[in-house]
């Protein structure tokens, strides 16, 4: 039997179709999934965040292991006073919780309302200090690695200190303050100073609007302990 050229072509095409559909079938079956570039981007961000959490968790596990060893040793070894170890741990925890007076190198920031003349139709809001300004500065300082922060000698504790506008004054730790605000922070002086002075920081825009912001570094800044309530009514462990 002799094949015509049309039949030959059809044969070749059918074979090609067979190969292609097999490949497609295998690709679908092999677990490959289709993702758009956007989804892929979202996934790689997610991956990055998960990896960062892993690092965090590993560090926590390691520190817990060290602590367990320490307490185990204190329990079994008669030469170590268990109470002392416990006492030391309490001191550390209090320090982390912001319940001790601390001192160290850091910066002192003075923020107060601007004194420049207002332009025509300009609202006075622009040159006055607001609660959001103070909050953003505190956030900038935290990001620069501040270990302790106080505003007008009120220790800033994240879960208890609200910084709230109450008209002409700002409430910090349920105490009312007016300008000037003196923010103190302990940490690396260079980092902290540049967090306030750097272009693009919140204080930069404050200065541009006319609010007075002054930063001084200091070898020794002392920051008082948080003195408010510690009672929890709703949170149960």
């Amino acid at each position: 039997m002799k094949l015509t050229s049309f039949q030959k072509k059809m044969f070749a095409l059918t074979v090609l179709l067979g190969i292609l559909s097999t490949m497609q079938f295998r690709a679908v079956n092999s677990g490959y999934k289709y993702m758009s570039i956007k989804e892929m981007y979202a996934n790689s961000i997610e991956l990055e965040s998960q990896n960062a959490e892993l690092v965090q968790l590993r560090a926590k596990a390691d520190s817990l292991k060290v602590k367990i060893d320490e307490f185990q040793k204190a329990r079994t070894d008669v030469s170590i006073d268990y109470e002392n170890v416990l006492q030391l741990e309490i001191e550390n925890t209090k320090k982390v919780a912001g319940l001790t007076n601390v001192e160290g190198p850091g910066i002192v920031i003075i923020v107060t309302d601007g004194t420049r003349e207002l332009y025509e139709n300009e609202r006075p809001d622009v040159v006055t200090v607001h609660d959001i300004d103070i909050r953003a500065m505190v956030d900038d300082l935290r990001n620069a690695g501040a270990e302790a922060i106080s505003i007008n000698d009120q220790r800033v504790i994240f879960n208890k200190s609200e910084i709230q506008c109450t008209g002409p004054t700002i409430k910090i730790n349920d105490q009312v303050f007016a300008v000037p605000f003196v923010i103190k922070a302990i940490g690396d002086r260079k980092y902290l100073e540049s967090a306030i002075n750097e272009p693009g920081s919140f204080s930069e825009s404050l200065r541009k609007w006319g609010v007075f912001v002054e930063v001084n570094t200091s070898i020794n800044v002392s920051i008082p302990a948080y003195e408010g309530t510690m009672e929890n009514q709703y949170a149960i462990q």
Binding site: K33, N43, I45, L57, A61, N232, Y234
Partner: protein, 236 residues
């Protein structure tokens, strides 16, 4: 006939050059030299391993914490002083956010609006992280006792920071949707956030998606990081 063939040849060459350009561009920039399907599988596989490892680590951390508690518990059975001290330690630990807590509270979900191809600018809540800061502050004002953002507990050192197109919280990059949990009086917090011209309204006005839900029981995780002081010294 002959010129036609030459033209087709020229077109083929141009097409070939373009395809080569396209391949080179795709390989060089987006996918580090692998095809989209390969990259996808790679990402998904890595994600699976990372998630499994995270789960294992969380379990390990919980076990270690139990061990530590057992040691401290057995020690406090022996003397009243030690028991008092241990109780005190646990109180401060809870205060500094190093324990898991649960109670009635509020659940706030913030997400970017669905992207509309016809619009030029894309909204990203991470760029407006000051709104998140304000939201946290409103929660604190309304008496929140424990707050977390995407499972990151908010503590004294917690920063909320724009980093690239993401937001860093406790130095962990997180991306929308942001799920903010707060424990406290759910009615007060709900009312404070939903106040007229309040924070939820201003977030919504910017075009983001926000949902506030008071809940009977919500769990806020412990702070998972480590905290070391390098500069601050305790003053007696």
């Amino acid at each position: 006939m002959k010129t036609d063939k030459i033209w087709i040849g020229v077109a083929c060459v141009i097409l070939g050059v373009f395809i080569a350009f396209q391949m080179k561009f795709i390989q060089g920039t987006y996918l580090d030299g692998s095809t989209p399907t390969q990259k996808t599988t790679e990402i998904l596989n890595e994600m699976a391993t990372v998630k499994a490892e995270k789960k294992a680590l969380i379990e390990e951390v919980e076990n270690l914490e139990k061990q530590l508690e057992a040691i401290q518990g057995s020690a406090s059975e022996e003397s009243a002083i030690v028991k008092n001290l241990t109780d005190e330690l646990n109180k401060f630990k809870a205060f500094s956010g190093r324990t898991k807590v649960a109670g009635q509270g509020i659940l706030v979900t913030i997400d970017n609006p669905p992207t509309d191809g016809s619009y030029g600018l894309e909204l990203n809540i991470a760029y407006d992280y000051k709104l998140i800061l304000e939201l946290l502050n409103e929660l604190n004002s309304a008496g929140a006792e424990a707050i977390s953002i995407n499972e990151q507990r908010v503590i004294n050192s917690t920063e909320v920071r724009l980093a690239g197109s993401q937001m860093n919280v406790n130095t962990i990059p997180i991306s929308p949707p942001f799920i903010i949990k707060g424990i406290g009086n759910s009615k007060t917090m709900d009312g404070a956030l939903n106040m007229r011209f309040g924070i939820i309204e201003s977030i919504r006005d910017r075009g983001y998606y926000v949902e506030v839900k008071p809940v009977e029981n919500i769990e806020v995780p412990a702070f998972n990081g480590t905290y070391k002081f390098k500069y601050a010294n305790t003053v007696k």
